[in-house]
């Protein structure tokens, strides 16, 4: 189908759900809060009235809490128990290009040398139907990191809102065609944010000014809450912890964030990144220098969630737009 009405899309979603597929899309979970979350019914899907959910679809491939395996202890013998392997088929509906692009970027780190099968299973079971953006806000900066409001990267299909209650449908992969049928329609209503900075320069600055007081000066307000990392589509750092219940238990992977002092704390008490400035620098350095150098990708899709969710007005854009004007500050 080259065009879908809102009604038609909801009908399809209903069919997918009836077929046992997990459907995830933007849902108003509370007044003023839209999150990507599992749809209870096709009616929950919000096709407009939001700019960007406060979270991202990375939860589909990297859940915030994921049992890696269980164990059962019988005196000093241990038995390991595999978690259920089957991942239900999932369809993300109305992801934005800044969500969809995150998945091929994350594929790199989860598959270099050692393949992370838990990640790959989820990734393979996930279809991404993207909704091109017709609006942007002051925090959006996809065009500064090589993307745009209708960038196709990571999408299995792209919907363009025609503005008349219909969507132009363009299918891009076999998964997309399986969901929506082959279609080549293109919409024209997009609204790209202006280019706001040069990502290469940011990476270079982070590498060349690693110990510059800039980082501490501009991180004084940071409370180290990690909201930037948790709502980021590509921040993927995790912790591995044991959860014990009597003689049984499990080892689980939980989201973690480089903004926490414990993240890098050595057992000796030494901490390589002992100030919040060091930790803010790490976030920028990792995204704009280290990841591009290692994987050829900027670890940022320009979604702006870090700034929108930051309680003190920090985030990638507020920080890096200070860089070209940064005067050296005396330590």
């Amino acid at each position: 189908m080259t065009t879908l009405t809102a009604e038609g899309l909801r009908k399809l979603v209903g069919e997918w759900m009836a077929a046992g597929k997990v459907c995830v899309g933007p849902v108003r979970v509370a007044a003023g809060t839209v999150l990507f979350t599992r749809l209870a019914s096709a009616e929950d899907l919000m096709l407009d009235g939001w700019l960007r959910p406060a979270n991202s679809i990375k939860e589909l491939v990297l859940p915030r809490h994921e049992p890696l395996y269980g164990y059962r202890a019988d005196r000093n013998r241990i038995e390991l128990l595999d978690p259920p392997e089957a991942v239900p088929e999932r369809i993300a509906i109305c992801a934005h290009p800044c969500d969809a692009a995150a998945l091929p970027i994350l594929d790199k780190v989860f598959n270099w040398d050692y393949r992370d099968e838990a990640y790959n299973r989820r990734r393979e079971a996930t279809t991404v139907i993207t909704l091109a953006c017709t609006a942007s806000d002051a925090e959006c900066f996809c065009t500064s990191v090589g993307l745009g409001p209708d960038a196709e990267r990571g999408s299995d299909a792209m919907l363009n809102d025609n503005g008349d209650g219909t969507f132009a449908v363009r299918t891009l992969t076999d998964k997309g065609r399986a969901a929506l049928g082959a279609s080549e329609a293109r919409g024209s209503r997009t609204n790209p944010p202006p280019a706001r900075f040069d990502a290469k320069q940011v990476g270079q600055y982070a590498a060349e000014h690693f110990d510059d007081p800039f980082w501490r000066e501009h991180s004084l307000a940071c409370v180290g809450c990690g909201a930037c990392a948790f709502t980021c589509p590509v921040c993927h750092c995790f912790d591995i912890v044991d959860e014990r219940n009597g003689h049984d238990g499990m080892r689980a992977r939980n989201w973690d964030a480089c903004q926490f002092p414990l993240f890098t704390l050595h057992a000796s008490g030494h901490n390589p990144r002992h100030t919040q400035g060091d930790r803010q620098r790490q976030r920028i350095y990792h995204k704009f220098h280290m990841y591009p150098e290692k994987f050829g990708e900027t670890l940022c899709t320009g979604c702006g969630n870090c700034a929108r969710n930051c309680p003190v007005g920090l985030g990638v854009l507020p920080l890096v737009t200070e860089i070209p004007h940064a005067e050296p500050v005396q330590a």
Binding site: D82, W112, A207, R251, D256, T264, A267, H270, Q282
Partner: protein, 277 residues
């Protein structure tokens, strides 16, 4: 399908207490086939775990020539090591690995070897010492300088005496001033000072320096004064890790994943990296 994070189960076949808070544990794979297939390079590390407490990263401190078991050594400082402290013979320990890069012993052939260690840093040196001694004809003179805060903080003490019996091996033990006992016959002083006093020819040698940051910081200038090339001076970084396989992001030091590209680095490599370790 392979689960990257699922450990091998190993049986503790020996527990040694070295100091009031340091133990080493010998482990054997419960799975006979895995035991037969397992190989590693000295300098590589493993992720060891006590079920119910969690995982921690330690160097595999036994020689790779010892095919029947592996050993690791730890200080009791936190949740996981408190649980490992309770491990007795016959208990089960989890192991993932081997991970990271080992020492490039092939490149070290024909050279003198200098081992400089401080405190709990002995285990990642100990495996290298045994490996060198087991391939004695491949290496020149071996000098070992090992120091700790007090006599009671030295680990693998019985092995220090054993190493000293080998030909062309010099072992110098030292404790920080005030850390000696009345019957202490070793040197008194910090590792860099004691090492400089010994005037070991370092120009053609490979050095392995592992210890607390302050020891490393003060040892490097001594090595430079003795003529060592920074491309021949090695260390093993100890960045905190969780996954061990370049995913969890924790061990990033500047542009590298310490778990994959390290933990072994030369000081020439470290000097080119930002100070993030």
């Amino acid at each position: 399908m392979q689960n990257l994070y699922k450990p091998d189960l190993m049986e503790a076949i020996g527990v040694r207490q070295h100091t009031s808070d340091v133990k080493s544990i010998s482990l054997r794979f419960q799975d006979a086939e895995r035991a037969h297939q397992f190989t590693f390079r000295v300098g590589q590390f493993g992720i060891f775990s006590a079920f119910g407490a969690g995982e921690s990263t330690f160097n595999i401190c036994s020689s790779s020539n010892w095919r029947d078991h592996i050993e690791f050594c730890f200080r009791k400082v936190g949740r996981v090591t408190e649980a490992l402290w309770q491990i007795e013979e016959g208990d089960t320990v989890g192991f993932r690995g081997p991970y990271g890069q080992g020492y490039p012993f092939e490149e070290w052939r024909g050279k003198d070897l200098i081992f400089l260690g401080g405190g709990i840093a002995m285990p990642p040196i100990r495996c290298a010492i045994w490996y060198a001694l087991e391939n004695r004809e491949d290496y020149g003179k071996i000098t070992i300088v090992y120091g700790a805060r007090t006599v009671g903080d030295l680990v693998f003490v019985d092995e220090l005496a054993e190493w000293a019996k080998h030909p062309r091996v010099e072992v110098i033990q030292c404790v920080d001033p005030g850390g000696q006992t009345p019957d202490w016959t070793g040197e008194i002083g910090f590792v860099p000072t004691v090492f400089e006093r010994a005037q070991v020819p370092a120009g053609q040698a490979v050095s392995l320096v592992i210890g607390p940051p302050i020891m490393i910081k003060n040892t490097i200038p001594v090595l430079e004064r003795m003529g060592a090339q920074m491309s021949d001076v090695y260390t093993s970084l100890e960045n905190r890790m969780k996954c061990g396989v370049g995913k969890c992001g924790r061990c990033n030091a500047g542009p590298v994943y310490v778990c994959k590209e390290g933990p072994v680095f030369t000081f020439r490599e470290l000097q080119a990296m930002p100070l993030d370790y």
